[in-house]
């Protein structure tokens, strides 16, 4: 039981992860899909950052003459800086695609898009036969 409480950060991460993944997979709205993806990515950022935390540690800025300070591990933070950039880039790209999908289909609902595609398919192939 204590262990569960002590690892509460992982539970937060896991819950966020599941929420994000579920939204990304189950929602038909493309914007919501992007949001789900974002939540999913954010959960990973949390995972890394909480991983780098050393209890009682402070920001790893060296101060001359002091070697008794406990620092947190800075590496995960640095990594997550990059991951944030990647996240921003993929979100921007995803949204850009959604904008263009909306322009050419007139909708951002996945099932409607699939229906439109199917109708187009049928028109094309039956037109060929006729």
């Amino acid at each position: 039981m204590m262990q569960l409480v002590a690892h509460w950060n992982y539970f937060a991460v896991i819950i966020l992860m599941m929420v994000g993944l579920y939204i990304a997979i189950s929602r038909g709205n493309l914007v919501k899909k992007v949001m789900g993806m974002n939540i999913f990515q954010t959960s990973v950022i949390l995972l890394y950052v909480s991983m780098g935390k050393v209890s009682g540690g402070t920001a790893p800025i060296l101060i001359e003459g002091r070697d008794d300070i406990i620092y947190s591990n800075p590496v995960p933070h640095v990594l997550m800086l990059t991951a944030i950039v990647v996240g921003v880039a993929s979100t921007a790209l995803g949204l850009a695609l959604v904008v263009r999908i909306r322009e050419s289909y007139g909708t951002v609902e996945e099932d409607e898009i699939v229906a439109l595609d199917r109708a187009e398919d049928e028109r094309e192939f039956s037109g060929e036969a006729g």
Binding site: M37, L79, V86, I101
Partner: protein, 494 residues
């Protein structure tokens, strides 16, 4: 100058990386396209040189900014990634020749250089993933290549390309994030990101649940990128609606690099014992590979579009590669790597044929390809060569792969498996033959005027088709390099 050659590992990545923004400055499409081809061939030359340097078993290490590991990022080249570098850069060089005019429909007039920038960035990412010796760097480069490849896919003619790119984006990002989680857990266990250090510490570390979970996340993440059945859903749409050149480039490089990652992580980092004896990943991977071989091929038979057919066939071919890995033997991995090389050649050739067909017919629907054998005989001959290679007819590269793979299976006394590989290549015969009959035996609807695509399309197509035959007859190169690479990674994985 001689001295400068120590910088080749970094130049391999930096040249395309800097060339991408340089395209922004050059702007003129005619100039940019020539420039891109030059960059492609420069990369190819570098990768060949690197392969020559490491082929005898030496490992090249290049420390970025002179920071030694574990502080800095290092590039680390052994035979395995040198082989992949050659595959990726050679495919890029050849495919770039056919560059001009690919995305006319999707890109506003005068901004064609954007296409080249994205292509070069994809190349950078793929090369970077392959060359780096730092696991987090793998993730970064993987995302560079993925993001730019989503852009490339979205440039397809029809609006469906957008949806295909979007689905790929979601799937790809989830996959990459899985990989990132796995890497995070590995970092947590080992405290390093450098592959060499990580390997050492993982070998010594206790086999805790964290490591198993890390392995699971990493394998699933890579499998999405690799399109391992049943995580392949994004692939057919992505390949069939993207511009044909993009399909040619991605089909012959992106999945290959993902396969490399799978080998690197499973054998190089986690190690043979953990992956195949403790977790027994092959229990899952092997049936999935076999399923992929059959499902992919059977689905390919029923397609009504040439590129879509090729895309499904790719899923089956990925099955051969993962089958090689899941045999967990040196011969199996070598067979998988041989197939990486060979499949790049033949699929590249076939997708370039699709580019030629698109140029002529405006699309690749099979019913529009009737009688093309008489209308564009040179192109269609290349298609026959590529198709026969897919089937695995002797004298083509496909035969070499299949020989290696089945031998590897039989060596492990997996007779049924070897037989199944044979059976699945018969399914390939069915869809290839369907193509041949459509192209040669059905009457075209609109005249039989003979008109071949321009040389810039025809030449790369035939370079790859010719290579599919050349390396099928003189297969020493691929077999030798792949066997050495497998031996090296296996020694490391013990």
């Amino acid at each position: 100058m001689n001295d400068f050659s120590v910088h080749l590992p970094i130049l391999q990545v930096v040249i395309p990386l800097l060339a991408a923004p340089f395209c922004f400055i050059l702007r003129k499409e005619a100039v940019v396209s020539v420039f891109t081809v030059l960059v492609g061939f420069a990369c190819f030359a570098i990768s060949m040189d690197l392969l020559a340097q490491v082929i005898d078993g030496d490992v090249l290490v290049y420390e970025l900014g002179d920071w030694a590991r574990p502080w800095g990022i290092e590039y680390r080249i052994d035979i395995l990634n040198a082989l992949l570098l050659v595959v990726v850069s050679s495919m890029a060089a050849v495919v770039f020749i056919a560059g001009p005019g690919q995305a006319r429909r999707a890109i506003p007039e005068g901004r064609g250089y954007l296409f080249y920038s994205a292509a070069l960035l994809t190349l950078t990412g793929l090369l970077g993933v392959t060359i780096t010796g730092d696991v987090f760097n793998v993730f970064v480069f993987l995302e560079i290549s993925s993001l730019s490849s989503y852009i490339l896919i979205a440039l397809g003619r029809s609006r469906r390309a957008l949806m295909a790119a979007f689905s790929y984006l979601i799937m790809g990002t989830i996959g990459a994030t899985f990989l990132l989680i796995g890497i995070g857990l590995m970092y947590q266990m080992t405290g390093t990101l450098n592959m060499v250090d990580m390997t050492e510490r993982l070998r010594d570390a206790e086999q805790t649940r964290t490591i198993f979970v890390a392995l699971a996340f990493v394998v699933v993440g890579i499998s999405v990128k690799l399109a391992v059945f049943p995580l392949h859903q994004w692939l057919p749409n992505a390949y069939s609606f993207s511009p044909p050149l993009v399909s040619a480039f991605l089909a012959s490089t992106a999945t290959k690099v993902a396969y490399y990652l799978l080998i690197r992580f499973c054998l190089g980092l986690f190690g043979l014992t953990l992956v195949f004896e403790v977790v027994e990943i092959d229990v899952l991977l092997l049936p999935l590979s076999v399923m992929a071989m059959f499902v992919g091929s059977i689905a390919a038979i029923y397609q009504r579009d040439f590129k879509r057919l090729l895309a499904y066939s790719s899923i089956a071919q990925v099955g051969y590669m993962t089958l090689g890995l899941s045999l967990a033997s040196e011969a199996g991995v070598a067979a998988g790597l041989i197939h990486v090389f060979n499949h790049a050649l033949m699929k590249g050739a076939l997708f370039l044929v699709a580019a030629c067909v698109t140029w002529r017919m405006g699309g690749t629907r099979l019913d529009a390809m009737k009688g093309l054998g008489r209308r564009m005989p040179v192109t269609m001959a290349a298609m026959v060569v590529g198709g026969l290679a897919l089937v695995g007819v002797p004298g083509t590269v496909g035969f070499v792969s299949k020989w290696a793979l089945v031998s590897a299976a039989l060596e492990k006394d997996a007779y049924l498996l070897g037989f199944l590989v044979m059976a699945s290549s018969l399914l390939a015969l069915v869809y290839v033959w369907k193509l041949v009959e459509i192209v040669y035996f059905q009457e075209p609807e609109t005249g039989i005027e003979r008109r071949e695509p321009p040389l810039r399309l025809l030449v790369p197509t035939w370079i790859l088709a010719g290579a599919s035959i050349y390396f099928g007859v003189f297969s020493d190169f691929a077999v030798d390099v792949a066997s050495r690479a497998a031996a090296q990674i296996f020694a490391a994985g013990m």
